[in-house]
């Protein structure tokens, strides 16, 4: 398929592929085993200017958008879904500043995030507030020219390694979702510490931790948008970032398929390559087709968001849901083609399956995505 990429987009893609092949593939297995953050890969991505591809030029970016972010995330995920999410999660933490921040905030925070000098994280989830973002317990109380934050976030990707955090806390519990407010909080702020580091099934090179706020004083100027706009900030961020998760799933699926096709041509049984068997061929053909369909959906959605179309929530949810379901199915089938070897950790393929699983869960489970898709369908039909 030709998605008619521009010269520049092709260049970015090539560069990301080069980093994936030269910097990620050699370390993916080890970082997965040891559950270690890929500092060196992050540095390589920063040195290559890739943290800024989706950010405006006036803040030190390259003027691209969500589509460019997806291209990079997809390429990195082909080599390791865990390392790719460290990159993508920084974008997830940067996007709310970009879409909700005032000029001063953008000028202060985005250039360092665009250059990769700093890494960002987005903190919404709490033990009692997973898919239900309105049940947030972390509080922010205004005292003079600052807020005092108390509470805990968990399952935060890039927690502990990120420098800049966008944290959702409630400034008015009685208002539910409309009482949520978004804050920019920097690492090192007094009263802000990190709790438990999670031991995960997949994406193990990425760091997932708790954030702990204990009378943490944050200047009032760090509020993103206005008080009470935290829920909107979250929804709009996820609308823009879901194609990124979809791109991660897409990359994982494609990466697994590429390895599997190669394996199928090398592996011999009954005196010939197993790729000669129709049973294997049909599986490969189905996988390739489903991946391509997912790609078309992801790319179209990303381009829609970049063109600033309204009502992207449905498309955004579709791309995330479909691509992640495809990734799960494809990686399971890839292991099947590898046979017994595929089940062993000596071979790279089982990791793809472990990495794929999370894409069906985070940034809204696929059940939530279906709700969003249905809601937007119903909304559309009422308009008519």
């Amino acid at each position: 398929m030709d998605y008619l990429l521009t010269e520049e987009q092709k260049m970015m893609q090539d560069l990301a592929r080069k980093i994936a092949d030269e910097k990620i593939r050699p370390v993916a297995k080890e970082l997965d085993e040891k559950s270690e953050f890929p500092y060196e890969v992050m540095k390589a991505l920063a040195d290559s200017d890739l943290f800024g591809v989706y950010l405006p030029e006036k803040y030190g970016g390259f003027g691209g958008g969500v589509f460019e972010l997806c291209l990079i995330t997809e390429e990195l995920s082909k080599a390791c879904g865990g390392i790719a999410v460290c990159y993508a999660a920084s974008a997830l933490g940067t996007i709310p500043i970009l879409i909700m921040g005032n000029e001063e905030q953008k000028k202060k925070y985005i250039p360092d995030l665009a250059s990769g000098k700093k890494i960002a994280a987005f903190a919404v989830t709490e033990p009692e507030a997973g898919s239900d973002a309105s049940a947030i317990q972390t509080t922010a109380k205004k005292e003079g020219d600052h807020y005092v934050i108390n509470g805990m976030k968990h399952f935060i990707t890039n927690g502990g390694v990120a420098d800049t955090y966008v944290v959702i806390a409630t400034t008015n519990k009685t208002k539910g979702a409309r009482g949520a407010t978004a804050f920019i909080i920097e690492k090192g702020t007094k009263g802000f510490t990190f709790g438990k580091k999670e031991d995960k099934l997949g994406i193990r090179a990425s760091t997932t931790t708790e954030l702990v706020f204990n009378d943490c004083k944050v200047p009032a100027e760090n509020v993103l948008g206005k008080e009470g706009m935290g829920f909107i900030a979250t929804m709009r961020t996820f609308d823009a970032s879901r194609p990124g998760v979809a791109a991660q799933a897409l990359g994982i699926a494609q990466g697994a398929l590429d390895l599997t096709v190669k394996y199928a041509t090398e592996r011999k049984q009954f005196g010939k390559s197993i790729s000669n068997f129709q049973g294997i061929q049909f599986m490969l053909a189905d996988m390739a087709t489903e991946i391509e369909a997912a790609r078309a959906l992801v790319y179209s959605t990303a381009r829609m968001i970049d063109a600033k179309k309204n009502n992207v929530a449905g498309a955004s949810a579709m791309s995330k849901m479909y691509a992640s379901d495809v990734a799960m199915k494809v990686t399971v089938d890839c292991i099947q083609i590898y046979g017994g070897y595929g089940y062993m950790k000596d071979y790279p393929i089982e990791k793809y399956m472990r990495d794929a699983k999370i894409t069906q869960i985070y940034e809204g489970t696929n059940q939530i995505q279906r709700s969003i898709i249905a809601a937007s369908l119903i909304k559309e039909s009422r308009k008519k």
């Binding site: 260049m11 560069l15 040195d47 890739l50």
Partner: protein, 260 residues
């Protein structure tokens, strides 16, 4: 301010080169041309010297017009200029004619303080062109450099890899050095660099632009000639040891005993 010249060569990507198991011949379809992997270390070292001491890095290559792509690749890593020596008159050059042509090309660019080459080219593996250039230009030569220790007062101090360890060598500039893989880890280009390289002007130099004698160029200037080319004899099919670990170990021990 140092003027650094890096010599690079375009070679077939040997990671793509495969042997057809049925016919035992080389599969050449789809083999990309890339920058000689050893030259990447030379480019990187030049950039590091430039970053430390200030200067200008020029890459030079002799090859067909399409070799321009490796010069652009070097520019995307941060090199300032690219020069391509390209002319049918250079075709058929062996290492003698190649080092002569490159030496003349380097002289035509102007001032130079350090010339850096990769250890050898991955297609020919001869490692002759670097020393050849040094002789043609009558400058000191240091091969197998694994570390640049210091550059000051017109002198360079390096560590040179030898079989037993390494030597510490000092030479006055200008000089030529060839570098080994151990010296550094080449950087990946930046997006800014790649955009610059797309627009960069590559200077193409033809034989007429150089102060050269035609009897030293190309096929005529090459004392050696390939007279035959053939596939290496295929290795005999090996024997596979199977069974219990103890059986396998016994068989292996017997093989080893026979050799020792």
């Amino acid at each position: 301010m140092l003027n650094i010249v890096v010599c690079v060569k375009q070679v077939p990507d040997t990671t793509d080169v495969r042997i057809d198991p049925e016919t035992n011949t080389l599969i050449r379809e789809g083999v990309d041309s890339i920058m000689n992997p050893f030259d990447m270390y030379a480019v990187e070292e030049a950039l590091r010297i430039k970053e430390k001491h200030e200067g200008k890095v020029t890459v030079i290559s002799m090859g067909p017009p399409q070799a321009e792509s490796i010069l652009r690749e070097a520019i995307s890593m941060g090199v300032d200029d690219g020069v391509l020596l390209s002319d049918r008159a250079f075709a058929g050059s062996d290492t003698w004619a190649t080092s002569y042509t490159l030496a003349k090309g380097i002289q035509s660019i102007g001032q130079f303080d350090i010339i850096i080459c990769g250890k050898q080219a991955a297609d020919g593996d001869t490692a002759q062109v670097g020393p050849g250039i040094a002789v043609h230009l009558n400058i000191p030569q240091i091969t197998y450099v694994k570390k640049v220790e210091n550059i000051e007062n017109g002198k360079i101090t390096v560590e040179r890899l030898i079989e037993e360890g390494y030597e510490i060598i000092e030479a006055s500039l200008p000089c030529l050095m060839s570098v080994v893989k151990e010296i550094n880890e080449p950087r990946i280009p930046s997006l800014k660099g790649m955009m610059r390289s797309k627009k960069a002007q590559i200077k193409t130099i033809r034989a007429d632009d150089l102060d050269v004698k035609s009897e030293y160029l190309g096929l005529d200037g090459s004392p050696t000639q390939v007279v035959k080319i053939f596939s290496p004899p295929a290795r005999e099919k090996g024997e596979m040891f199977t069974g219990e670990v103890s059986d396998i170990v016994e068989k292996l021990s017997n093989v080893i005993k026979e050799i020792k």
